[in-house]
């Protein structure tokens, strides 16, 4: 029996060690031309870089800061089974090691960042997609509804059937804002348009971002009902929408989200069906945050990256979007001018 216990503890220890390996990949690179003493700590959500979307966009901003400003960096991931406590630990470690600013990517860090920021008043923190009420925190929020309004305009203009779809990840206010803007934009073009929408999971259901098979089923059903343009704001589940649109064939369009998914290598098989993507310029926000610290003027409070700051927009890398650009750009101008107010709910 003693032998059994030994084996069990070895197994368990191995499991923990390996689990540890998985959840915190780090990479630090030495700076080249310009150098700065600023050390940037970056905590990604879930499994970090390589999602072809949100985290990659944050990394783009970070790597730009690395080249342009010469800052040193450290990256960590929360892992998909993270808890508030484990996230707090990650952020505390970064702050303790002198990383300043510490940037948390994703709303999931809200609670943890609030606690840690209070303990390190001299460190600048930033959080993407959430608002934490602390004097040393920059809240990088995006007017996703404004960008989604533009994709709604494009979707409704491109749709021949007068029927479009929306696939959401987790059913939370953050994602509902995408839907609201999209719906409003589409209706501004065609008031009678039919819009199907479906969320992959309820609030708190973390699997919602990781179920491409379910997103595919939902998208295929929308297409079956006549939809010919679908927009997904669903993280890794979005892949299923691309698959369903590709299977439906020519005449059907997918609209990507966060980064320009037309240019993402992992989605190369589907690029001919990706009309455009709603761009959420997390890279701009991350870069601006780091630059603020380097310049000695950290961004604090609510920083709303909207159309006027180029914080959101739409991708034009697929030339198929050309015919709809005029309408989208006009809508963008109207939003900037304040003649159109976009709903977030």
């Amino acid at each position: 029996m003693l032998k059994g216990v030994k084996i069990a503890s070895v197994l368990a220890a191995a499991a923990l060690v390996l689990a540890g390996c998985g959840s915190s990949g780090d990479a630090s690179a030495s700076a080249t031309a310009p150098t700065s003493s600023v050390k940037v700590g970056m905590a990604y959500d879930q499994d970090g870089k390589g999602d072809g979307s949100f985290n990659d966009a944050a990394y783009a901003g970070l790597s730009k800061a690395q080249t342009d400003l010469g800052v040193q960096i450290k990256e960590v991931n929360s892992g998909s089974s993270a808890t508030d406590a484990s996230r707090e630990e990650l952020l505390t470690l970064l702050a303790q090691d002198g990383y300043n600013p510490v940037i948390a990517v994703g709303f999931a860090y809200s609670t943890a960042l609030g606690n840690v920021a209070a303990k390190f008043p001299d460190t600048s923190f930033a959080i993407v997609d959430s608002v934490v009420d602390q004097p040393n925190v920059g809240n990088l929020v995006f007017a996703a509804e404004q960008g989604s309004y533009l994709t709604g305009v494009i979707a409704a203009s491109a749709s021949k059937s007068g029927h479009i779809g929306f696939i959401g990840g987790m059913e939370i206010d953050l994602i509902k804002a995408f839907e609201a803007g999209y719906v409003q934009g589409a209706k501004s073009v065609n008031p009678d348009i039919t819009i199907d929408s479906k969320y992959m999971g309820a609030a708190g259901d973390n699997t919602a971002w990781n179920v491409p098979d379910k997103a595919k089923a939902a998208s295929a059903a929308m297409i079956g009902n006549g939809a010919d343009v679908i927009y997904a704001a669903a993280g890794g589940s979005g892949l299923g929408m691309f698959q369903a649109v590709k299977e439906a064939g020519a005449g059907h369009w997918a609209i990507g989200v966060d980064s320009d998914q037309y240019t993402v290598p992992a989605l190369a098989d589907y690029k001919d069906f990706i009309l455009t993507s709603m761009l959420k310029r997390v890279d701009v926000a991350v870069y601006d945050t780091i630059k603020g610290v380097v310049d000695g003027a950290p961004l604090v409070g609510i920083q709303n990256f909207d159309l006027s700051k180029d914080g959101v927009g739409y991708a034009t890398s697929n030339s198929a979007v050309e015919p709809y650009k005029a309408a989208a750009d006009k809508a963008a101008a109207d939003i900037k001018a304040g003649t159109i107010t976009v709903n977030t709910k």
């Binding site: 059994g4 990949g25 390589g50 939902a218 059903a221």
Partner: protein
């Protein structure tokens, strides 16, 4: 199969179709029994069913398998890793091998070393999660199309068939909205519509398991290891060898389920299994540790998930509420007949409340839409759990030579 059982199965199928048909008629919702729905439900049922079947193999031999989720994760990883390099079939094979490796690990820990089976299974889950994340960073980060958390796209897919000669006329018949007839047509058409080869393999594995474990000498010995290993040992059965075979094969099946997920998604992603190993475990319990019930449970989960997802205006959820109420009525009637009157009346009342809700509201808020499938599932599970009988020595460690 004897005549009585055949009649009973036909009866259950008949009642199910009748309930579906009534619901479809009252909600004017052809989606409930359309070919697309049935085909999609089968697709969702496959990984859950494979996990459940994997559970049957392991637990019938007396080893509780909490590690199913981990073995599935290993399967998704194997499929992603081999799939992007050598195609979907190679991915399938690698997924199976990785899953079997997970099963073997559980067997070594729990059979040879007598580690508590729950702890060993949990260790397999943790190990699989950590190992695959680690390997994904190592193997996928620098490959075009890959990333820290996902593999590059898997090359090719597995074949799937649509037998037009059968499905097309039936789909046309389904569209005619004839009571019962259209529903049978829709369900049957769904079986011949975008049918993946893996669905066929899965059904074959269910039949094979039912035959092997209940109709052969090998199966009797394997099950004896889960019912009374001491007696089996005294009769010369090598209990540990059977446990090893069963648990390793269990891992193989779970790995196949994982590989299916990755290949269907054309990609491996961390967290892709989304708890389906655990849902598989639940369907196994729901299915009373038997292939038939487990398969039915998996189809039910798949069907409910499908209805939620293909629903554009929440009308399916309304249908599901009526469906749940009708199922409750049928169960209540059966219970009152077999003199479990109190529970029966309780279900009757609950069904009545659901019918009331169905009549009162023409549309349900999305929050209800989100939870309705799970409530229905819970209710069915709760009612079914009263007659369950796990293998007698399930989870009990066996040491050769120790009496009992």
């Amino acid at each position: 199969m004897n005549i009585m059982r055949q009649q009973r199965l036909l009866g259950i199928f008949g009642v199910a179709i009748a309930i579906l048909s009534i619901t479809r008629t009252f909600t004017h919702n052809p989606d409930l029994t359309s070919a697309v729905t049935v085909s999609q439900a089968l697709g969702f049922a496959v990984p859950i069913g494979l996990a459940g079947l994997a559970g049957i193999w392991s637990e019938r031999a007396g080893v509780v398998n909490i590690g199913l989720e981990g073995m599935m994760i290993l399967g998704t990883f194997g499929a992603g890793w081999a799939g992007y390099q050598w195609g979907a079939w190679a991915g399938l094979l690698a997924g199976i091998v990785m899953g079997a490796f997970g099963g073997l690990l559980l067997a070594i820990a729990s059979v040879t070393f007598g580690v508590d089976q729950i702890i060993a299974g949990t260790a397999v889950n943790l190990l699989a999660t950590g190992l695959t994340k680690f390997l994904a960073i190592l193997l996928f980060t620098d490959v075009v199309g890959g990333g820290q958390a996902q593999s590059p796209p898997i090359k090719g897919t597995l074949p799937s068939f649509t037998i037009e000669a059968i499905s097309s006329p039936l789909i046309a018949l389904h569209a005619k909205d004839i009571f019962i007839v259209s529903d049978v047509a829709g369900v049957v058409a769904g079986l011949f519509f975008h049918l993946s080869i893996l669905t066929v393999i899965t059904v074959a594995l269910f039949v094979f398991t039912a035959w092997l474990l209940w109709k052969t000498r090998f199966g009797l010995r394997l099950r004896s290891a889960g019912e009374n290993p001491w007696a089996a040992d005294s009769l010369g059965v090598n209990v540990n060898r059977y446990k090893y075979m069963a648990v390793t094969f269990s891992g193989l099946l779970a790995g196949l389920g994982g590989a299916y997920l990755a290949i269907a998604a054309t990609i491996y992603r961390n967290g892709q299994t989304a708890g389906r190993g655990f849902i598989g475990l639940a369907t196994m319990i729901f299915g009373n540790w038997r292939p038939g019930g487990t398969g039915a449970g998996a189809i039910m989960f798949g069907y409910i998930d499908t209805l939620r997802l293909i629903d554009s205006d929440n009308k399916n959820v309304r249908g599901l509420i009526l469906l749940g109420a009708l199922v409750l009525f049928v169960i209540a009637a059966a219970m009152i007949r077999t003199s479990r009157r109190a529970t029966g009346i309780g279900f009757l009342l609950l069904g009545g409340v659901m019918i009331g809700g169905f009549m009162a509201a023409s549309n349900f808020p999305p929050e209800v839409a989100q939870v309705a499938p799970y409530i229905t599932t819970l209710l069915v599970l709760a009612t079914a759990s009263q007659n369950l009988r796990p293998p007698a020595a399930d989870g009990v460690p066996f040491r050769k030579g120790e009496g009992h």
